[in-house]
């Protein structure tokens, strides 16, 4: 079984994240970048299956700027067998539609039985890429899974819907997305880090994939305005000396909140 895990590099959420005020795009120079935690969890789902099924092949796939190589190495150090890195100048600021087209082309090229993604990326928070991939590839789709069992011909899983959970079965080939209810990824150990240096990273351009980013080709979503809100300032801070509840109620009354 060949499993593609979609890993994404994102600005570290523990820092103040910034947008470039010219373009409205994430300002990658502003702080640290990390492998999105949810995509590490997706990788863990694949590795857990590979632990028990040595013939399984786990490929980490990412569309990201050239600078993302160290994040992709991290996916290899955690345990992916190889990686595919789609890099192209023309992808700077790619919208969801172009991102999905490119990722689908890379998956088609590699030929996957199963694609595992996060349910939401922490920077874009689109939550649509997995469904878009399923449509592109005509794979069965099961999104927002909180428990996953992989078998040779199907994935059975618990899916969190808007109204509660359900059991789902997706015949392979399939695209599934997982939630943060699934376990964190194993930590890369020294051996993994050393091994990762020798694992292959295939770097692909748009031309390699036969995809064009030409805006005349398909409609794209563009940012037409960006503005920054002044940061919120703290207000009153009191130390409870027995009358904090009374003071709080005064505050709520004064502000017509009760």
């Amino acid at each position: 079984m060949k499993i593609f895990v979609l890993v994404k590099e994102v600005p570290d959420t523990y820092e103040d994240r910034r947008l470039d005020m010219e373009t409205g795009l994430a300002d990658r120079g502003a702080g640290q970048v990390v492998l999105d935690e949810i995509t590490e969890r997706a990788l863990e789902v694949a590795l857990k299956y590979a632990d028990a099924n040595p013939d399984a092949e786990v490929v980490a796939l990412s569309m990201a700027p050239e600078s993302a190589t160290s994040s992709i190495r991290r996916a290899l150090a955690i345990g992916a067998g190889s990686a595919v890195h789609v890099v192209d100048e023309a992808l700077h600021g790619a919208d969801l539609g172009l991102t999905a087209t490119v990722l689908a082309a890379a998956i088609r090229r590699g030929g996957a039985d199963l694609v595992i993604t996060g349910n939401l990326s922490t920077d874009g928070a689109g939550g649509v890429i997995p469904a878009m991939l399923a449509e592109h590839l005509n794979y069965a789709q099961a999104t927002n899974l909180s428990a996953v069992q992989i078998a040779p011909d199907a994935v059975t899983a618990t899916r969190e819907t808007d109204y509660g959970s359900q059991q789902v079965t997706a015949p392979l080939p399939a695209v599934v997305s997982i939630t943060e209810a699934l376990p964190e990824a194993r930590f890369p150990n020294f051996k993994g880090i050393m091994a990762a240096k020798k694992k292959p990273i295939e770097v692909l351009s748009l031309a390699d994939l036969g995809v064009t980013a030409d805006p005349a080709e398909a409609p794209q979503t563009i940012l037409t305005a960006v503005s920054e809100k002044p940061p919120r300032a703290g207000g009153v801070k009191i130390v409870d000396e027995g009358d904090a509840a009374v003071q709080l109620i005064d505050f709520l009354v004064k502000n017509r909140l009760v």
Binding site: T122, Q141, E160, G164, G235, A244
Partner: protein
């Protein structure tokens, strides 16, 4: 189908019991800001009637209906939306930014080659066409997005748009013919409702939210949050640490990977205010925090912060509020 001026196609989310989801009124309200709301109800035949009535009451001028089976996930609704899209030829497609809605929006955009904008907090029309407004990085930025050409598919964050359409006495209901695409599909069982419907307000769009964090210490103690919420007629939220510890189920999680809320009043109890939590609540009008650590980052955004033990302060607040009511 009669001609409608600038039709805006809206997908109604239908709950497992056949009701229209709470997002219905805001989606149709948003559509009315842009043109004529046309709604699609794609649900099992026996359960769709309530949803159709709700769509009409919310102001849809035309409601298209089609029966879909219960088991297959997303694909039958995508097929129905595709048929509706081709029939209506709308200026924009509005879909709730729900789990179900995002699946349909993504697939429809791919299938019909449309530009996709997600998680809009408002929609508008300017000289160039239809624009979606977004609140990014926990409300630190506002952005506008638009398609380079063609009809945009826009998912709308739940509980953010206050505009409501007038219900149309001349509204029509028509059956839509749908050709199944035959796309590969996963199948699911009937959804087990998470909890019995609570009388508390829905978290999304709530006017007041009371949230609890790891500081509550246990599931039993979390009832303190519920007591205060009931006195304030509030929805209940939580930090990820509280959800991970099993104090309360995930749908109550507020923050970057949970729900984003913008209430009039947000009360954070035993929550440190990690950046990922603040990302989901710092656009609240007024923030109150109760935390025993004066260095907690939650105090940087709180309008009224109490440095104190929640087990002392919260029961006193609850008692005082009860006293006021007498």
């Amino acid at each position: 189908m009669p001609h409608y001026e600038s039709p805006i196609l809206v997908l109604i989310d239908v709950t497992p019991s056949g009701a229209a989801a709470p997002s219905t009124a805001q989606l149709i309200g948003a559509a009315a800001q842009l043109g004529t709301p046309v709604a699609l109800v794609a649900a099992p035949a026996d359960s769709a009637k309530d949803a159709v009535d709700s769509a009409v009451a919310a102001g849809a001028q035309l409601v298209l209906t089609t029966d879909v089976d219960d088991g297959p996930i997303a694909v039958p609704i995508v097929d129905a939306m595709q048929a509706a899209y081709r029939t209506v030829q709308p200026d924009a497609v509005l879909i709730s930014n729900s789990i179900a809605g995002r699946d349909v929006a993504g697939r429809l955009a791919v299938r019909e080659h449309l530009a996709l904008s997600v998680d809009a907090v408002d929609v508008a029309r300017d000289d160039e066409g239809i624009v979606a407004h977004h609140s990014v990085y926990g409300g630190a930025y506002l952005t506008h997005s638009a398609p380079t050409f063609g009809t945009p598919v826009i998912t709308v964050r739940q509980g953010t748009i206050d505009t409501r359409a007038k219900s149309a006495p001349e509204a029509r209901v028509e059956k839509l013919t749908v050709e199944p695409s035959g796309a590969a599909v996963a199948v699911g069982t009937v959804v087990e409702a998470l909890q019995i419907a609570s009388s508390r307000p829905e978290l999304r769009g709530a006017r007041v939210v009371v949230s609890g964090g790891r500081g509550l210490g246990s599931k039993e103690n979390f009832s303190l949050v519920e007591d205060l919420a009931d006195e304030l007629n509030a929805a209940i939220g939580a930090s990820r640490a509280a959800v991970d510890a099993g104090f309360i189920p995930f749908p109550h999680q507020v923050g970057q990977t949970g729900v984003s809320v913008s209430p009039q009043l947000y009360v954070a109890i035993g929550i440190s205010g990690a950046i990922q939590h603040r990302a989901g609540m710092q656009t609240a009008k007024t923030i109150v925090a109760i935390n025993k650590d004066p260095g907690s980052p939650i105090f940087d955004v709180a309008d009224f912060g109490i440095v104190g033990d929640l087990f002392t302060v919260v029961p006193q607040v609850v008692d005082a509020l009860r006293g006021r009511k007498k």
